[in-house]
């Protein structure tokens, strides 16, 4: 890559334009030098797609929570880009227990302590967790 080919395609989603990464490219004498890049179209497309997939799934889950098919834990897990295995580790529970907590009926009976624990993991208040989708 030549110095004047270092891509400057703005990464204009989720505040991605705040970071200018350093890249190595060769100058006219063939010597390597560091140049900052605003972003690259190819990478932007790939990253944007990954985020869009996350947002789509999140919207679907939000609907399911509203319809009473899933508990808010499923929603906030996805919102925090977690999978069941990771959430289980943070919660100190087995995966099957976390999956059980996805059931609205089970969720209603969760203790205050457990709710507080989940809320802390998701960086929200217990009330926000309980009242989501209502």
């Amino acid at each position: 890559m030549k110095a004047d080919e270092v891509p400057q395609d703005k990464r204009d989603f989720k505040e991605g334009d705040k970071i200018h990464k350093l890249m190595y490219a060769v100058d006219t004498d063939g010597k390597y030098t560091g140049i900052t890049s605003a972003g690259w179209e190819a990478e932007n497309i790939a990253t944007k797609q990954a985020w869009d997939a996350v947002d789509e799934e999140l919207a679907e889950t939000a609907e399911k929570v509203k319809r009473g098919e899933l508990s808010p834990i499923a929603y906030f897990m996805q919102k925090n880009l977690m999978e069941v295995s990771l959430l289980a580790k943070y919660a100190g529970k087995w995966q099957w227990q976390v999956k059980r907590h996805f059931k609205p009926a089970v969720f209603k009976k969760l203790s205050g302590d457990m709710l507080a624990k989940y809320a802390a993991i998701f960086n929200i208040t217990a009330d926000e967790l309980k009242n989501f989708g209502k």
Binding site: M1, F13, K14, I19, M23, A25, E43, A46, Q49, A53
Partner: protein, 334 residues
């Protein structure tokens, strides 16, 4: 309590960047490409059966921690490394190191670093950064991928250092204990290059080194038959992201390694290394070309410009050129 003399330099990749920044602070003049090359950072692996967030794992670099460890060992720098049971102990130990006037490197999860924009934050637990001081209850942070230094609250840093998942940083912290007066760069560079060639060419398994590029090429060819268009597109996207995402230095580290070969060639006065550097630069352009076409294909989700077959060929050519290059690099007479 701040290491005021600490100088922050922006780098392309977090681990080689932190290594270079810490070593420079200790009085060793070393560039990021040099740290990356001596640490044999370049690699390739594709693991179709290990799913990372639902897509097959692909990496263009060696495993986390290896660059730092190999580089410091090869330069004869004595490091202190430590993991912790609790965030309290980790913060206390960090405060003690800072009080002794030393900056400390550490592992963190990018997801819990509030100073990064949301676009970059996902559960990646092997991000390296340097803390070089504490002021008004905040840690002073030198994150090598940022242009400037920043700050972080102790509770946020603790969260990032004790993130769960794979791998778990468990507060991993490191700092320079002592640096040698004289450094034998020649031997360090040789050892780094030899190891890189070995890792690229020797693994007998199809998932690691140069062989894995051909494996990925074969897999990509099968994507249209095996996967839904959406899945195929996500899988491709992941390869591009690994090639370009946070701190890869462009083209899956190829330019970073080419910069190393060039610097080594100048330092050791070897024209063959300069030639290899120029060749790898061209191969890096091929990688970028692959990523560019892959992104186009992804965006349209139909094969009007370049089909999966053609993408697979582009990748195979990268693999062939690299196999040829590293085979010749391995035969260098030192």
């Amino acid at each position: 309590m701040s290491t005021t003399s600490y100088q922050h330099y922006q780098h392309a990749h977090c681990e080689s960047g932190v290594t270079a920044n810490l070593l420079r602070h200790a009085g060793i003049s070393i560039s990021e490409p040099m740290a990356f090359g001596i640490g044999a950072g370049i690699f390739f692996a594709h693991l179709p059966f290990v799913k990372v967030s639902g897509t097959p794992g692909t990496t263009f670099r060696t495993w986390p921690g290896a660059i730092f460890k190999r580089t410091t060992q090869r330069l004869g720098v004595e490091m202190h490394t430590q993991r912790f049971r609790t965030p309290e102990r980790a913060n206390q130990a960090l405060d003690d190191v800072l009080a002794s006037g030393k900056p400390a490197g550490m592992l963190s999860s990018v997801y819990y670093l509030p100073y990064l924009p949301e676009a970059f934050r996902f559960h990646f637990n092997a991000h390296n950064l340097v803390v070089y001081g504490k002021q008004k209850g905040q840690y002073l942070v030198s994150d090598p991928i940022l242009e400037d230094v920043t700050t972080i609250l102790p509770q946020d840093l603790a969260k990032a250092r004790f993130a769960k998942g794979t791998p778990e940083p468990r507060g991993f912290m490191y700092y320079v204990k002592s640096a040698p007066q004289q450094i034998d760069y020649t031997r360090a560079i040789q050892a780094g290059i030899k190891q890189t060639c070995f890792f690229m060419l020797s693994p007998p398994l199809p998932w690691f080194g140069n062989k894995a590029i051909f494996l990925l090429a074969k897999q990509i060819k099968k994507y249209p038959q095996k996967l839904t268009p959406r899945k195929a597109s996500l899988y491709l996207g992941n390869v591009i992201r690994m090639q370009e995402e946070i701190g890869t230095g462009g083209a899956g580290f190829r330019f970073l390694y080419a910069a190393f070969l060039q610097e080594a060639g100048v330092l050791l006065q070897r024209d063959d290394l300069l030639g290899f550097s120029a060749e790898l630069t061209k191969i890096g352009d091929d990688w970028r070309n692959f990523a560019y076409h892959a992104a186009r294909l992804m965006k349209d989700r139909k094969s009007d410009l370049v089909s999966y077959d053609e993408l697979s060929d582009l990748l195979r050519i990268c693999g062939e050129k690299e196999r040829d290059l590293f085979t010749r690099v391995q035969k260098i007479k030192w």
